[in-house]
Symmetry: C3
Subunit: 137 residues, 3 copies
Protein backbone atom coordinates (compact mmCIF):
# COMPACT_ATOMS: atom_id res chain seq x y z
CA UNK A 1 0.00 0.00 0.00
CA UNK A 2 0.93 3.59 -0.62
CA UNK A 3 0.99 6.16 2.18
CA UNK A 4 2.08 9.66 1.19
CA UNK A 5 1.82 13.19 2.53
CA UNK A 6 2.31 16.67 1.18
CA UNK A 7 1.45 20.24 2.13
CA UNK A 8 -0.23 22.77 -0.16
CA UNK A 9 0.05 26.51 0.47
CA UNK A 10 -3.03 28.48 -0.56
CA UNK A 11 -3.14 32.26 -0.89
CA UNK A 12 -6.45 33.76 0.22
CA UNK A 13 -7.47 37.35 -0.69
CA UNK A 14 -9.67 37.90 2.41
CA UNK A 15 -13.06 36.51 3.45
CA UNK A 16 -14.48 33.91 1.11
CA UNK A 17 -14.01 30.54 -0.55
CA UNK A 18 -10.92 29.63 -2.57
CA UNK A 19 -11.36 26.51 -4.67
CA UNK A 20 -8.54 23.96 -4.44
CA UNK A 21 -10.16 21.01 -6.24
CA UNK A 22 -7.78 21.01 -9.22
CA UNK A 23 -4.65 21.41 -7.13
CA UNK A 24 -5.70 18.58 -4.82
CA UNK A 25 -6.91 16.31 -7.64
CA UNK A 26 -3.68 16.77 -9.57
CA UNK A 27 -1.58 15.78 -6.58
CA UNK A 28 -3.78 12.73 -5.97
CA UNK A 29 -3.48 11.71 -9.65
CA UNK A 30 0.30 11.83 -9.30
CA UNK A 31 0.23 9.27 -6.47
CA UNK A 32 -1.12 6.58 -8.85
CA UNK A 33 -3.51 5.16 -6.25
CA UNK A 34 -6.42 3.24 -7.78
CA UNK A 35 -8.45 2.89 -4.58
CA UNK A 36 -7.90 4.54 -1.26
CA UNK A 37 -8.53 7.59 0.87
CA UNK A 38 -7.50 11.24 0.67
CA UNK A 39 -7.52 13.36 3.81
CA UNK A 40 -7.16 17.14 3.90
CA UNK A 41 -6.29 19.02 7.10
CA UNK A 42 -6.03 22.80 7.41
CA UNK A 43 -3.33 23.92 9.85
CA UNK A 44 -5.21 26.99 11.12
CA UNK A 45 -8.02 28.00 13.50
CA UNK A 46 -9.30 31.06 11.63
CA UNK A 47 -9.76 29.41 8.23
CA UNK A 48 -11.42 26.09 7.45
CA UNK A 49 -12.38 23.58 4.76
CA UNK A 50 -15.73 23.02 3.10
CA UNK A 51 -17.16 21.11 0.18
CA UNK A 52 -19.71 23.16 -1.73
CA UNK A 53 -21.40 23.53 -5.08
CA UNK A 54 -18.89 24.68 -7.68
CA UNK A 55 -21.37 25.69 -10.41
CA UNK A 56 -23.08 28.92 -9.31
CA UNK A 57 -20.85 31.57 -7.63
CA UNK A 58 -23.99 32.92 -5.92
CA UNK A 59 -23.84 29.90 -3.58
CA UNK A 60 -20.52 31.15 -2.24
CA UNK A 61 -21.84 34.70 -1.82
CA UNK A 62 -24.92 33.47 0.05
CA UNK A 63 -22.83 31.19 2.25
CA UNK A 64 -20.50 34.05 3.14
CA UNK A 65 -23.43 36.34 3.94
CA UNK A 66 -25.06 33.69 6.12
CA UNK A 67 -21.94 33.19 8.25
CA UNK A 68 -21.33 36.96 8.52
CA UNK A 69 -24.85 37.35 9.88
CA UNK A 70 -24.69 34.28 12.16
CA UNK A 71 -21.36 35.26 13.71
CA UNK A 72 -21.28 39.07 13.78
CA UNK A 73 -18.27 41.20 14.57
CA UNK A 74 -18.44 43.38 17.68
CA UNK A 75 -20.60 41.01 19.70
CA UNK A 76 -18.71 41.67 22.93
CA UNK A 77 -16.03 39.00 22.52
CA UNK A 78 -13.28 38.86 25.16
CA UNK A 79 -10.72 37.77 22.56
CA UNK A 80 -10.34 40.92 20.43
CA UNK A 81 -6.65 41.85 20.55
CA UNK A 82 -6.12 40.74 16.94
CA UNK A 83 -9.05 42.73 15.55
CA UNK A 84 -12.85 42.48 15.33
CA UNK A 85 -12.70 39.73 12.68
CA UNK A 86 -10.56 37.40 14.78
CA UNK A 87 -12.98 35.76 17.22
CA UNK A 88 -15.74 35.45 14.57
CA UNK A 89 -13.13 33.66 12.44
CA UNK A 90 -12.46 31.09 15.18
CA UNK A 91 -16.19 30.48 15.61
CA UNK A 92 -16.80 30.09 11.86
CA UNK A 93 -13.92 27.61 11.74
CA UNK A 94 -15.53 25.62 14.58
CA UNK A 95 -18.84 25.53 12.64
CA UNK A 96 -17.22 24.20 9.46
CA UNK A 97 -14.41 21.67 8.85
CA UNK A 98 -10.78 21.40 9.88
CA UNK A 99 -10.43 18.01 8.16
CA UNK A 100 -12.15 16.28 5.24
CA UNK A 101 -11.72 12.73 3.94
CA UNK A 102 -12.64 11.66 0.41
CA UNK A 103 -12.44 8.10 -0.96
CA UNK A 104 -10.39 7.54 -4.12
CA UNK A 105 -12.13 5.21 -6.59
CA UNK A 106 -10.78 4.19 -9.97
CA UNK A 107 -7.86 6.57 -9.52
CA UNK A 108 -10.08 9.61 -8.93
CA UNK A 109 -11.57 11.44 -5.96
CA UNK A 110 -15.16 10.26 -5.43
CA UNK A 111 -16.47 13.84 -5.59
CA UNK A 112 -20.03 14.31 -6.84
CA UNK A 113 -20.68 16.19 -10.08
CA UNK A 114 -21.23 19.55 -8.40
CA UNK A 115 -18.79 19.24 -5.51
CA UNK A 116 -15.73 21.44 -5.18
CA UNK A 117 -13.18 21.51 -2.34
CA UNK A 118 -12.68 24.96 -0.81
CA UNK A 119 -10.49 26.73 1.68
CA UNK A 120 -12.85 29.01 3.62
CA UNK A 121 -10.98 32.14 4.71
CA UNK A 122 -12.56 33.86 7.71
CA UNK A 123 -10.07 36.68 8.36
CA UNK A 124 -10.44 40.13 6.79
CA UNK A 125 -6.93 40.32 5.38
CA UNK A 126 -5.14 38.09 2.85
CA UNK A 127 -3.38 35.04 4.30
CA UNK A 128 -1.26 32.11 3.23
CA UNK A 129 -2.91 28.90 4.46
CA UNK A 130 -1.31 25.47 4.72
CA UNK A 131 -3.35 22.36 3.94
CA UNK A 132 -1.76 19.02 4.82
CA UNK A 133 -2.75 16.10 2.57
CA UNK A 134 -2.48 12.36 3.17
CA UNK A 135 -3.21 9.51 0.78
CA UNK A 136 -3.52 5.91 1.88
CA UNK A 137 -4.31 3.31 -0.76
Amino acid sequence: MINTNTTLTIATPGPGLVEVTDEVSNWVAGQAVANGLLTLFIRHTSASLTIQENADPDVQADLLAFFRHLVPEGAGYRHDAEGPDDMPAHIKAALTQTSLSIPIMGGRLALGTWQGIYVFEHRARPHRREVALNVVG
Copy 2:
Protein backbone atom coordinates in the same frame (compact mmCIF):
# COMPACT_ATOMS: atom_id res chain seq x y z
CA MET B 1 -3.75 -4.65 4.73
CA ILE B 2 -7.19 -4.39 3.21
CA ASN B 3 -8.31 -1.29 1.32
CA THR B 4 -11.82 -1.45 -0.17
CA ASN B 5 -14.44 0.95 -1.44
CA THR B 6 -18.12 0.80 -2.25
CA THR B 7 -21.01 3.18 -2.87
CA LEU B 8 -24.39 3.02 -1.13
CA THR B 9 -27.48 4.63 -2.64
CA ILE B 10 -29.92 5.96 -0.05
CA ALA B 11 -33.49 7.02 -0.85
CA THR B 12 -34.62 10.05 1.17
CA PRO B 13 -38.31 11.02 1.49
CA GLY B 14 -37.69 14.76 1.94
CA PRO B 15 -36.24 16.80 4.85
CA GLY B 16 -35.00 14.73 7.74
CA LEU B 17 -32.62 12.03 8.93
CA VAL B 18 -32.42 8.60 7.33
CA GLU B 19 -30.53 6.06 9.43
CA VAL B 20 -27.91 4.02 7.57
CA THR B 21 -26.15 2.37 10.52
CA ASP B 22 -27.23 -1.20 9.67
CA GLU B 23 -26.46 -0.91 5.98
CA VAL B 24 -23.01 0.51 6.71
CA SER B 25 -22.24 -1.94 9.54
CA ASN B 26 -23.23 -4.91 7.40
CA TRP B 27 -20.91 -3.86 4.61
CA VAL B 28 -18.06 -3.32 7.08
CA ALA B 29 -18.68 -6.78 8.61
CA GLY B 30 -18.35 -8.28 5.14
CA GLN B 31 -14.85 -6.85 4.74
CA ALA B 32 -13.54 -9.01 7.60
CA VAL B 33 -11.33 -6.23 8.98
CA ALA B 34 -10.47 -6.70 12.66
CA ASN B 35 -8.97 -3.25 13.20
CA GLY B 36 -8.98 -0.26 10.91
CA LEU B 37 -10.89 2.77 9.75
CA LEU B 38 -14.19 3.32 7.95
CA THR B 39 -14.77 6.60 6.11
CA LEU B 40 -18.12 7.77 4.74
CA PHE B 41 -18.39 10.56 2.15
CA ILE B 42 -21.66 11.95 0.77
CA ARG B 43 -21.41 12.97 -2.89
CA HIS B 44 -23.80 15.94 -2.61
CA THR B 45 -23.91 19.56 -1.40
CA SER B 46 -27.58 19.72 -0.34
CA ALA B 47 -27.57 16.65 1.91
CA SER B 48 -25.02 15.71 4.56
CA LEU B 49 -23.97 13.18 7.19
CA THR B 50 -24.40 13.28 10.94
CA ILE B 51 -24.04 10.99 13.91
CA GLN B 52 -26.90 11.39 16.37
CA GLU B 53 -28.78 9.63 19.12
CA ASN B 54 -30.74 6.71 17.72
CA ALA B 55 -32.99 6.05 20.73
CA ASP B 56 -35.57 8.86 20.89
CA PRO B 57 -37.08 10.02 17.55
CA ASP B 58 -37.81 13.39 19.19
CA VAL B 59 -34.10 14.18 18.91
CA GLN B 60 -34.39 14.06 15.13
CA ALA B 61 -37.53 16.24 15.15
CA ASP B 62 -35.85 18.83 17.38
CA LEU B 63 -32.69 18.81 15.27
CA LEU B 64 -34.70 19.36 12.10
CA ALA B 65 -36.68 22.21 13.71
CA PHE B 66 -33.48 23.86 14.93
CA PHE B 67 -31.90 23.89 11.47
CA ARG B 68 -35.14 25.07 9.83
CA HIS B 69 -35.19 28.02 12.22
CA LEU B 70 -31.44 28.74 11.96
CA VAL B 71 -31.39 28.69 8.14
CA PRO B 72 -34.81 29.99 7.03
CA GLU B 73 -36.15 29.87 3.50
CA GLY B 74 -36.82 33.18 1.78
CA ALA B 75 -33.99 35.08 3.47
CA GLY B 76 -33.07 36.98 0.30
CA TYR B 77 -30.63 34.45 -1.14
CA ARG B 78 -29.17 35.18 -4.57
CA HIS B 79 -29.11 31.47 -5.43
CA ASP B 80 -32.81 30.64 -5.76
CA ALA B 81 -33.30 29.23 -9.26
CA GLU B 82 -33.80 25.69 -7.91
CA GLY B 83 -36.42 26.68 -5.35
CA PRO B 84 -36.58 28.28 -1.88
CA ASP B 85 -35.22 25.14 -0.17
CA ASP B 86 -32.04 25.00 -2.26
CA MET B 87 -29.72 27.59 -0.71
CA PRO B 88 -30.78 26.70 2.86
CA ALA B 89 -29.87 23.11 1.95
CA HIS B 90 -26.34 24.13 0.93
CA ILE B 91 -25.90 26.10 4.16
CA LYS B 92 -27.19 23.25 6.33
CA ALA B 93 -24.77 20.91 4.56
CA ALA B 94 -21.89 23.31 5.32
CA LEU B 95 -22.90 23.33 9.01
CA THR B 96 -22.90 19.53 9.29
CA GLN B 97 -20.67 16.82 7.78
CA THR B 98 -19.70 15.78 4.27
CA SER B 99 -17.36 13.08 5.58
CA LEU B 100 -17.16 10.99 8.75
CA SER B 101 -14.49 8.53 9.88
CA ILE B 102 -15.08 5.78 12.42
CA PRO B 103 -12.43 3.38 13.77
CA ILE B 104 -13.10 -0.35 13.46
CA MET B 105 -12.18 -2.28 16.61
CA GLY B 106 -12.57 -6.02 17.10
CA GLY B 107 -14.31 -6.28 13.74
CA ARG B 108 -16.99 -3.69 14.60
CA LEU B 109 -17.49 0.05 14.19
CA ALA B 110 -16.49 1.84 17.41
CA LEU B 111 -19.88 3.55 17.67
CA GLY B 112 -21.12 4.44 21.14
CA THR B 113 -24.22 2.78 22.54
CA TRP B 114 -26.59 5.54 21.41
CA GLN B 115 -24.90 6.58 18.18
CA GLY B 116 -26.50 6.09 14.80
CA ILE B 117 -25.16 7.15 11.38
CA TYR B 118 -27.60 9.29 9.40
CA VAL B 119 -27.97 10.83 5.96
CA PHE B 120 -29.38 14.31 6.60
CA GLU B 121 -31.61 15.33 3.68
CA HIS B 122 -32.01 19.10 3.37
CA ARG B 123 -34.09 19.34 0.18
CA ALA B 124 -37.91 19.42 0.21
CA ARG B 125 -38.42 16.64 -2.32
CA PRO B 126 -37.30 12.99 -2.22
CA HIS B 127 -33.80 12.27 -3.54
CA ARG B 128 -31.46 9.38 -4.16
CA ARG B 129 -28.17 10.10 -2.38
CA GLU B 130 -24.83 8.38 -2.95
CA VAL B 131 -22.53 7.69 -0.01
CA ALA B 132 -19.01 6.51 -0.85
CA LEU B 133 -17.42 4.20 1.73
CA ASN B 134 -13.78 3.29 2.26
CA VAL B 135 -12.26 0.76 4.65
CA VAL B 136 -8.57 0.58 5.43
CA GLY B 137 -7.43 -2.04 7.92
Copy 3:
Protein backbone atom coordinates in the same frame (compact mmCIF):
# COMPACT_ATOMS: atom_id res chain seq x y z
CA MET C 1 2.15 -0.58 7.28
CA ILE C 2 1.02 -0.03 10.83
CA ASN C 3 -2.66 0.05 11.77
CA THR C 4 -3.42 0.51 15.47
CA ASN C 5 -6.32 1.56 17.63
CA THR C 6 -6.82 2.66 21.20
CA THR C 7 -9.45 4.39 23.33
CA LEU C 8 -8.83 7.36 25.61
CA THR C 9 -11.16 8.20 28.48
CA ILE C 10 -11.45 11.92 29.18
CA ALA C 11 -13.02 13.38 32.32
CA THR C 12 -14.98 16.58 31.66
CA PRO C 13 -16.01 18.96 34.49
CA GLY C 14 -19.14 20.29 32.75
CA PRO C 15 -19.64 22.61 29.74
CA GLY C 16 -16.45 23.64 28.00
CA LEU C 17 -13.33 22.52 26.17
CA VAL C 18 -10.89 19.97 27.59
CA GLU C 19 -7.57 19.89 25.77
CA VAL C 20 -6.31 16.42 24.81
CA THR C 21 -3.44 17.38 22.50
CA ASP C 22 -0.67 16.03 24.72
CA GLU C 23 -2.43 12.78 25.52
CA VAL C 24 -3.14 12.15 21.83
CA SER C 25 0.32 13.24 20.65
CA ASN C 26 2.03 10.99 23.19
CA TRP C 27 0.07 7.97 22.03
CA VAL C 28 0.86 8.76 18.40
CA ALA C 29 4.57 9.14 19.23
CA GLY C 30 4.50 5.66 20.78
CA GLN C 31 3.29 4.10 17.52
CA ALA C 32 6.55 5.05 15.77
CA VAL C 33 4.80 6.03 12.54
CA ALA C 34 6.85 8.42 10.39
CA ASN C 35 4.08 9.28 7.93
CA GLY C 36 0.42 8.44 8.10
CA LEU C 37 -2.97 9.47 9.42
CA LEU C 38 -4.47 9.82 12.88
CA THR C 39 -8.26 9.71 13.27
CA LEU C 40 -10.16 10.63 16.44
CA PHE C 41 -13.77 9.63 16.99
CA ILE C 42 -15.87 10.57 20.03
CA ARG C 43 -18.32 7.86 21.07
CA HIS C 44 -21.07 10.24 22.23
CA THR C 45 -23.83 12.48 20.86
CA SER C 46 -23.81 15.17 23.56
CA ALA C 47 -20.09 15.95 23.44
CA SER C 48 -17.92 16.54 20.38
CA LEU C 49 -14.44 17.28 19.06
CA THR C 50 -12.98 20.55 17.87
CA ILE C 51 -9.62 21.99 16.95
CA GLN C 52 -9.17 25.50 18.29
CA GLU C 53 -6.56 28.04 19.26
CA ASN C 54 -4.64 26.89 22.34
CA ALA C 55 -2.96 30.18 23.23
CA ASP C 56 -5.63 32.51 24.65
CA PRO C 57 -8.20 30.95 27.05
CA ASP C 58 -10.60 33.77 26.08
CA VAL C 59 -11.15 31.99 22.75
CA GLN C 60 -12.67 29.06 24.61
CA ALA C 61 -14.87 31.33 26.75
CA ASP C 62 -16.14 33.19 23.67
CA LEU C 63 -16.77 29.94 21.80
CA LEU C 64 -18.76 28.57 24.71
CA ALA C 65 -20.80 31.78 25.00
CA PHE C 66 -21.53 31.75 21.26
CA PHE C 67 -22.90 28.20 21.31
CA ARG C 68 -24.91 28.86 24.48
CA HIS C 69 -26.56 31.80 22.74
CA LEU C 70 -27.04 30.00 19.40
CA VAL C 71 -28.61 26.90 20.96
CA PRO C 72 -30.51 28.10 24.03
CA GLU C 73 -32.00 25.88 26.69
CA GLY C 74 -35.77 25.94 27.10
CA ALA C 75 -36.56 26.55 23.43
CA GLY C 76 -39.53 24.20 23.40
CA TYR C 77 -37.68 21.00 22.57
CA ARG C 78 -39.69 17.76 22.52
CA HIS C 79 -36.69 15.79 23.82
CA ASP C 80 -36.36 17.06 27.41
CA ALA C 81 -36.64 14.02 29.67
CA GLU C 82 -32.91 14.13 30.49
CA GLY C 83 -32.91 17.82 31.44
CA PRO C 84 -32.87 21.23 29.73
CA ASP C 85 -29.22 20.88 28.68
CA ASP C 86 -29.74 17.60 26.81
CA MET C 87 -31.25 18.58 23.47
CA PRO C 88 -29.01 21.68 23.15
CA ALA C 89 -26.07 19.29 23.69
CA HIS C 90 -27.16 17.10 20.77
CA ILE C 91 -27.52 20.14 18.51
CA LYS C 92 -24.12 21.56 19.51
CA ALA C 93 -22.59 18.16 18.77
CA ALA C 94 -24.22 18.18 15.31
CA LEU C 95 -22.74 21.64 14.64
CA THR C 96 -19.20 20.59 15.57
CA GLN C 97 -17.22 17.37 14.97
CA THR C 98 -17.70 13.72 15.86
CA SER C 99 -14.52 12.72 13.99
CA LEU C 100 -11.28 14.48 13.07
CA SER C 101 -8.38 13.26 10.94
CA ILE C 102 -4.86 14.67 11.15
CA PRO C 103 -1.93 13.66 8.94
CA ILE C 104 1.26 12.48 10.65
CA MET C 105 4.40 13.92 9.06
CA GLY C 106 7.94 13.26 10.20
CA GLY C 107 6.62 11.31 13.16
CA ARG C 108 4.46 14.18 14.44
CA LEU C 109 0.87 15.35 14.06
CA ALA C 110 0.69 18.05 11.38
CA LEU C 111 -1.01 20.49 13.76
CA GLY C 112 -0.45 24.18 13.15
CA THR C 113 1.42 26.27 15.72
CA TRP C 114 -1.72 27.45 17.50
CA GLN C 115 -3.90 24.37 17.09
CA GLY C 116 -5.01 22.26 20.02
CA ILE C 117 -7.31 19.22 19.99
CA TYR C 118 -10.27 19.52 22.35
CA VAL C 119 -13.14 17.46 23.68
CA PHE C 120 -16.12 19.84 23.70
CA GLU C 121 -18.44 18.92 26.58
CA HIS C 122 -22.01 20.13 26.05
CA ARG C 123 -23.75 18.65 29.12
CA ALA C 124 -24.12 20.57 32.40
CA ARG C 125 -22.71 17.84 34.63
CA PRO C 126 -19.27 16.15 34.61
CA HIS C 127 -18.91 13.14 32.30
CA ARG C 128 -16.38 10.54 31.29
CA ARG C 129 -16.02 10.60 27.49
CA GLU C 130 -14.46 7.93 25.30
CA VAL C 131 -12.42 8.94 22.26
CA ALA C 132 -11.44 6.15 19.86
CA LEU C 133 -8.15 6.66 18.02
CA ASN C 134 -6.82 5.01 14.88
CA VAL C 135 -3.41 5.35 13.27
CA VAL C 136 -2.64 4.11 9.78
CA GLY C 137 0.88 4.67 8.43
